[in-house]
């Protein structure tokens, strides 16, 4: 990463942590919920969320759910356990192999062909979402999101799967900022150092699948999104046109994942168009 971008994206850790802790406390208290629940994968994003949640609410008001599938890397579960042990936080392990396999056993037979890895991966992400929202009702807990800004912008996630949540404390942090804060709050070293992976199939890594590194993505996204540079202006900074175009395409093509469903306007006041209230209205 260019030093000037790295400097610009570097966060004052105390200030950022104070803001994020206050955000979690405030939003949970306002909503009338008692605690938060989230999926803990063994990756860096959900590990950071775990540390933030415990800092904000105390461990007794948090709950981590570990949801391995049979092909998940064993290291993922080990790393997730390292987090819950370090934080001594309440947690439950809910394997998702049986429900996901039961679904595909039925649907593969109905469709007459085996599901692609992409469909299986999406189903796993949504199975986890269903589990978390069930725990939400059981524990009176808000679901915390664990998607970072880089993923959200690139659309590198499953709609209504890992992208679904009630509150997302890390959704405005680029991947490099997630790393910085994770380091600051004491996320275990094994998590900080491993290659990021959605772990939906064996040996998957994010950067291999995306075709560029997170550092490259963060840099280009910083100019395109935060600084509103055009493609040409970004390329003029020395980034390859192929990289910048790819990033732009991903951001645009995945806008649908970041929006609520599109509603056909008929009446004078339409949900999502000119019926405008914050969610806090309902609190």
């Amino acid at each position: 990463m260019k030093p000037e971008v790295a400097n610009r994206l570097r966060l004052n850790e105390d200030l950022t942590l104070a803001l994020l802790e206050r955000f979690i406390r405030d939003e949970v208290d306002k909503s009338g919920f008692q605690r938060v629940v989230f999926g803990l994968s063994g990756g860096i994003d959900s590990a950071l969320v775990a540390y933030l949640a415990v800092r904000a609410l105390g461990r007794d008001r948090t709950h981590a759910v570990l949801m391995p599938y049979e092909t998940s890397s064993p290291a993922s579960l080990t790393d997730a356990f390292a987090v819950v042990h370090d934080l001594q936080m309440p947690h439950t392990v809910v394997p998702i192999t049986a429900p996901v396999d039961a679904y595909f056993a039925q649907v593969d037979a109905l469709l007459g062909s085996p599901a692609t890895p992409l469909r299986k991966g999406n189903r796993m992400a949504r199975e986890r979402m269903c589990t978390l929202f069930d725990f939400s009702a059981h524990l009176a807990a808000l679901v915390l999101g664990t998607s970072n800004k880089t993923e959200l912008l690139l659309g590198y996630g499953t709609q209504f799967g890992d992208m679904a949540s009630a509150l997302n404390p890390i959704g405005d942090l680029y991947k490099c900022q997630v790393r910085q804060l994770s380091n600051a709050v004491g996320v275990p070293r094994s998590i900080l150092e491993k290659a990021p992976s959605a772990d939906l199939w064996e040996n998957q890594t994010d950067e291999q699948e995306l075709g560029f590194t997170y550092d490259d993505a963060d840099e280009v996204l910083y100019y395109l999104v935060d600084e509103r540079y055009s493609l040409d202006e970004t390329v003029a900074l020395g980034y390859s046109e192929a990289l910048v175009s790819r990033v732009i395409q991903r951001v645009r093509r995945n806008q649908y994942k970041r929006k609520p469903p599109v509603i056909a306007k008929i009446s004078p006041r339409t949900v999502g168009i000119d019926f405008r209230y914050l969610r806090d209205w309902g609190n």
Partner: protein, 301 residues
């Protein structure tokens, strides 16, 4: 009276819950009186919350509304600055701040600059105010009020200073944004620079009260405080945390500062007026944008 005891009420209003916010105002006013303060300042839209959007119709109040009157009544023993969505008799909705003293309204400032860009959408719901009017009868003498974005336009404090303000009150609902490696949020750093320059330029103490709390993911940074006429931040409240903060302003410092650095004395408002008229006339004639000496599109060679 050379010293002004002020309480900066850095509160976290509940969005749309007028009753709850009003109770909190009364509670804090009682506490400020008990502390011996002469003035308590609440943040912009402290009675309603900031992003009221379509709740505007439900939470707007005319000045004569009993809830507003209860605050004015409470000003018999301490001066109070509070802010809410004001509905006029013609049903315009303004972001307003009231200065109440001795059970009366001394001044109402209606926010002139309604930010409608980026994350802000105020002009969609509110009507802009039309003046920067100073008022007398405060413990600091003549004063002026600005609401948040008003203070991001350098002409606003200029007009208040020419209007005779010896004290400026700036209330805000300013979000925490642009976190960098710096000690302050990007938005907060700009505020600190602006108010320092204004106070020093016009030899005028400024009290700044910004709210805290979170509305749908947007945090308000707090960081209320006061700047001396010499341009020093005398006090800065913590970021993000709610609280009442007592400060003391030395009113004699205005006299010293304006003698030492008499920039306000040397202002040339009639010259400014002439130059503005000329500039505006030329803009009108050439329909040019801000570029100096720019030619109309068709005349470029």
């Amino acid at each position: 009276m050379d010293r002004l005891q002020v309480v900066l009420a850095q509160l976290s209003p509940r969005l749309g819950d007028f009753e709850w916010n009003l109770d909190k105002h009364h509670e804090w006013i009682r506490e400020a009186r008990a502390r011996g303060a002469q003035l308590i300042i609440f943040p912009e839209l402290g009675l309603t919350g900031y992003q009221v959007q379509d709740m505007t119709l439900d939470i707007a109040r005319p000045l004569i509304h009993p809830q507003i009157q209860s605050l004015i009544e409470a000003s018999r023993e301490i001066d109070i600055v509070f802010s809410f969505v004001e509905e006029t008799s013609h049903h315009l909705f303004h972001v307003s701040a009231v200065y109440a003293s001795e059970g009366k309204v001394r001044a109402v400032h209606r926010k002139v600059y309604l930010p409608t860009y980026g994350m802000f959408d105020e002009r969609r719901y509110f009507a802009p105010g039309t003046r920067f009017q100073t008022f007398s009868g405060t413990p600091a003498g003549t004063a002026g009020m600005l609401l948040c974005e008003d203070a991001w336009h350098v002409t606003s404090p200029y007009l208040l200073a020419l209007g005779g303000a010896n004290f400026m009150i700036v209330t805000a609902s300013s979000p925490a944004r642009d976190v960098t490696d710096a000690h302050y949020f990007g938005s907060q750093r700009f505020w600190r620079e602006l108010l320092r320059v204004y106070a020093q330029t016009y030899g005028c103490p400024i009290a700044f009260v910004n709210r805290v709390g979170v509305e749908d993911g947007i945090s308000f940074f707090g960081g209320s405080g006061a700047v001396s006429p010499e341009g020093d931040w005398l006090f800065t409240a913590p970021t993000v945390e709610e609280g009442m903060f007592s400060i003391q302003l030395d009113l004699r410092s205005v006299r010293r500062a304006r003698f030492s650095t008499p920039i306000l004395r040397d202002e040339r408002p009639l010259l400014v007026q002439r130059e503005l008229e000329r500039i505006l006339r030329q803009r009108e004639e050439t329909q040019c944008d801000w570029a100096p000496n720019s030619q109309p599109e068709g005349e470029r060679t």
